[in-house]
């Protein structure tokens, strides 16, 4: 438990991704089984203890001191688990519990036993250990580590490509004995045949130079404005995976219901707009906006009402498995034939085929790209006809050509210190546009400028500060940014009522007077 607590403690304060990976990899290498497996389960959100409730912790905390001192302490610290960890008065000299003991015991424990068990463990730990224990059992680690990051670290720890780990991830269970035996001890790779595990996606590079591409070598299709998903059905089990390999099946029972097949597809998850005039013919209707899709994301479960308001469906791009046959070794052209046959055979209205676009020359490709925004597409995909399905981003095989961004001139309002390497720079910028005579914030950006420009901006912020709030400075409303963004949508959570998607600083307009920046009406017209 001590090593796990030290890891969590360090991760909480570490902003940089690389440093997090180093800490995690170091832990996975040094820690024996099954502790490291349980730690991996905790980090990837695969553990929960339904019988351990925050209420029990609150009771334990209150017994540590009188009401006045508890209230003053809780008020000062602001977090119940942390307050409890710090207030705890150790009784006797108990042995510190091991992580595996804690997890295995707690999984068996009944509701009435939890309190006594936890109290005993708290006695054996120091303040950091107590904090980690309480975070672990109440399930709220919140240490800025995604399941994907934990897997990348695992790959780094044992010199294994993360794609290889992802392939078997959904077929292994905590505390991952078989996984670590393979990674650390040279045992065989766990067998996943017959299971609907995640297969790493093939990804595209942004299209920068197109002059020397011959259109005849490429298949062109829309890049749909949804989220990339993988549909895996094998041996009677069905799973829907996100691009990061997270299992999102629980949020999309409608898609799962449509997966009455045996195979693995790559596609785009979209939602329909039931109010749209041509919704009676699902095949020809355009999907609802990305904003509508967002209502369905990041949910563990979904209500009937939500299913009816934003029904989900999939546009299929590619096929990885047809039954047990691994098609990733075929060329795209051959896979496309298999995909068309598969979708036709399956014949379900919620699994559509992504149409191939007719683009015999560059003029027609460019014309399609120019149409993307009007049609609500994110852009174009260009894929080499002879490309095999290879995990990751392989050079020269697949390209994405996004629609041109929208731009607006906005005024810098606040600047905040960055993290890690940028902690001495004011590098996160909040900007706004005019509503009447007042500026309202419309977005925040922290990239799009060079290091030299960052140094200039930092200096400008320091010289034009009018107010300080901790790490944030309010500045004189004088500097204009040309902000580029992919799209803008309404958002009740923002004061301006608008939120930008993927904003970045396109240009710093040192020359432009703030009064000539855009007005809110101009942005509202872009929604």
């Amino acid at each position: 438990m001590k090593a796990f607590a030290a890891l969590l403690d360090r991760l909480v304060y570490t902003p940089s991704r690389n440093a997090k990976l180093r800490l995690l990899a170091d832990y996975f290498r040094r820690t024996p089984d099954p502790d490291r497996g349980w730690a991996l389960a905790a980090l990837t959100g695969s553990l929960n203890f339904p019988n351990a409730k925050a209420g029990a912790i609150r009771e334990l905390a209150r017994e540590q001191t009188d009401e006045v001192l508890f209230a003053l302490s809780y008020d000062y610290v602001g977090d119940l688990a942390e307050t409890t960890a710090l207030l705890w008065q150790t009784q006797g000299d108990a042995e510190p519990p091991g992580l595996a003991d804690v997890v295995e015991t707690l999984r068996q424990a009944g509701r009435t036993e939890v309190r006594g068990l936890v109290a005993g463990w708290l006695d054996g730990l120091d303040a950091t250990g107590r904090w980690a224990l309480l975070k672990l059992i109440t399930g709220g680690l919140r240490i800025g580590v995604s399941a994907r990051l934990a897997r990348v670290a695992l790959g780094q720890a044992f010199d294994t490509a993360v794609e290889e780990i992802e392939e078997i991830w959904h077929a292994v269970d905590p505390p991952y004995g078989a996984l670590f035996a393979w990674l650390a001890d040279g045992a065989g790779k766990p067998d996943v045949a017959g299971r609907p595990t995640f297969r790493p996606f093939m990804l595209a590079h942004p299209l920068e130079e197109r002059a020397d591409l011959d259109p005849a070598d490429w298949l062109v299709e829309w890049k749909w404005d949804g989220i990339r998903v993988q549909l895996a059905a094998r041996g009677g089990e069905r799973r829907l995976y996100s691009r990061t390999g997270d299992d999102i099946s629980g949020a999309f029972p409608d898609v799962l219901a449509a997966m009455d097949f045996d195979g693995v597809l790559d596609g785009e998850l979209l939602v329909r707009d039931p109010a749209s005039p041509d919704s009676s013919d699902p095949g020809s209707a355009d999907p609802a906006s990305f904003n509508a899709l967002q209502q369905r994301l990041n949910r563990k479960t979904v209500s009937k009402k939500m299913l009816a308001a934003h029904p989900a469906y999939v546009v299929a791009y590619d096929i990885l498995f047809d039954g047990a046959a691994d098609l990733r070794v075929l060329t795209l052209e051959d896979r496309r034939g298999r995909l068309e046959a598969f979708v036709a055979r399956h014949d379900h209205p919620d699994i559509e085929l992504s149409a191939l676009l007719d683009a015999p020359d560059w003029e027609s490709v460019a014309a399609l790209q120019a149409e993307a925004r009007r049609l609500g597409r994110e852009g174009l995909m260009l894929k080499r006809r002879d490309s095999l399905y290879e995990p990751g981003r392989k050079t020269g095989l697949w390209f994405k050509w996004k629609r041109d961004p929208l731009t607006a001139d906005a005024v810098l309002m606040y600047a905040q210190r960055g993290h890690g390497r940028r902690s001495s720079f004011y590098s996160d910028y909040t900007f706004g546009v005019w509503r009447g005579g007042e500026l309202v914030p419309v977005g925040k950006a922290y990239f799009g400028f060079t290091d030299a420009e960052l140094a200039q901006l930092d200096k400008w912020v320091r010289n034009h500060t009018v107010n300080r709030f901790g790490p944030v400075r309010e500045v004189e409303k004088r500097l204009v940014f040309e902000v580029a963004f992919d799209s803008i949508h309404t958002s009740p959570r923002h004061k301006s009522g608008l939120a930008m998607r993927f904003p970045r600083i396109a240009r710093i307009r040192w020359d432009k007077p703030a009064a000539e920046a855009d007005r809110i009406e101009a942005l509202e017209a872009m929604v």
Partner: protein
């Protein structure tokens, strides 16, 4: 003197605690004719006073910081020596806070009042340990007077610093430490953990480190951080005042791991606010257990609480039958310790 009450001869005034019969202010916040200064931290030792009574070490620190403005006339009083001022006997006793730090023991009319200044109870290799003195009134600080503050063993904190240096050998480790006391104690603790490489110093720390060395505290090899190649800091430990941690000064270091040695690091929200990546809980103030143990040890039936989280300590004392009240002196803020 029948009927003499402690508050008749030691009063909280706008300028600070004032001992009336001796016309003596303790750590005055504004300039006065006669002052006794408990220790060299800026919120206790201010420039511009007339006659200043303090330990020789504290006077040396004031001289280093303020030059001629330290005092019109410095009056050294070593630990244990006594001085009579208008019928009040004054004595200074080690407080264990920083080099030269003292409690002020005042005796008058058969009563004894001890003003703690800032203090701690755990071992500090850079100054003599706190000596408890039995008294009628104990005037205590309360910087960390909440039961959530229980400082861990400082060797463990240094071990986590050195473990991090081993894990990130290509980065510098930048440790924020208050310039008087914390910096030198942290350096000593790093030396005790076996680190004998040079430590690199922000320019603002140099003078006080020299002063500690002149008082016989061996800090090992120290080098200025200025004028050195960025790459030369990889795998090294650099110390700077807390205010320089995320300032432009730190850009000379290669992707530094920002650490901070302070009792405030115990609470995550406070450590995060400071943008600290490696909090080191090392404090020069008593934690909750030290404060309450000290109150029991000195056995004073009456306790005055000066600065910090007075409410909690007053509450604790009252429940043990000690008459306790908060003095709420002005000009005392949480020390950036």
């Amino acid at each position: 003197m029948a009927g003499l009450r402690p508050e008749d001869w030691l009063k909280a005034t706008e300028r600070g605690l004032w001992c009336a019969p001796a016309d003596l202010y303790i750590d005055p916040v504004r300039a006065v004719e006669r002052a006794v200064v408990t220790h060299g931290h800026a919120d206790h030792a201010r420039p511009g006073n007339g006659r200043v009574l303090a330990t020789p070490e504290t006077l040396a620190i004031m001289q280093a910081r303020y030059g001629d403005a330290a005092a019109r006339q410095a009056q050294p009083l070593a630990y244990g020596e006594t001085l009579d001022l208008g019928g009040v006997t004054v004595r200074l006793v080690p407080a264990g806070h920083v080099l030269g730090s003292a409690q002020v023991v005042l005796e008058h009319g058969g009563q004894r009042i001890v003003v703690s200044g800032d203090y701690k109870r755990r071992r500090d290799p850079t100054c003599p340990a706190f000596e408890p003195v039995a008294c009628d009134v104990f005037v205590t600080e309360a910087t960390f007077a909440l039961p959530v503050f229980r400082h861990p063993d400082d060797a463990g904190e240094i071990a986590s610093l050195l473990a991090s240096v081993a894990l990130f050998p290509e980065r510098a480790h930048l440790v924020g430490a208050y310039g008087l006391g914390k910096a030198q104690r942290t350096i000593r603790l790093i030396r005790e953990a076996g680190w004998d490489r040079p430590l690199y110093l922000h320019g603002a720390l140099q003078a006080l480190c020299d002063l500690y060395e002149a008082h016989g505290i061996d800090l090992g090899p120290l080098e200025p951080a200025a004028g050195r190649d960025r790459a030369a800091f990889a795998g090294e430990i650099v110390l700077a005042p807390p205010g320089s941690l995320s300032d432009r000064w730190s850009r000379r270091l290669p992707d530094p791991v920002t650490a901070m040695a302070s009792g405030w690091m115990r609470v995550r929200q406070r450590a995060k606010q400071r943008g600290v990546e490696l909090p080191l809980i090392i404090s020069d103030h008593a934690d909750w257990d030290e404060l309450t143990a000290t109150l029991e040890e000195v056995g004073a039936p009456e306790v005055w609480v000066t600065h910090g989280r007075e409410e909690a300590l007053v509450h604790w004392a009252a429940r043990r039958g000690i008459r306790a009240r908060a003095l709420s002196l002005i000009g005392r803020e949480d020390e950036d310790e």
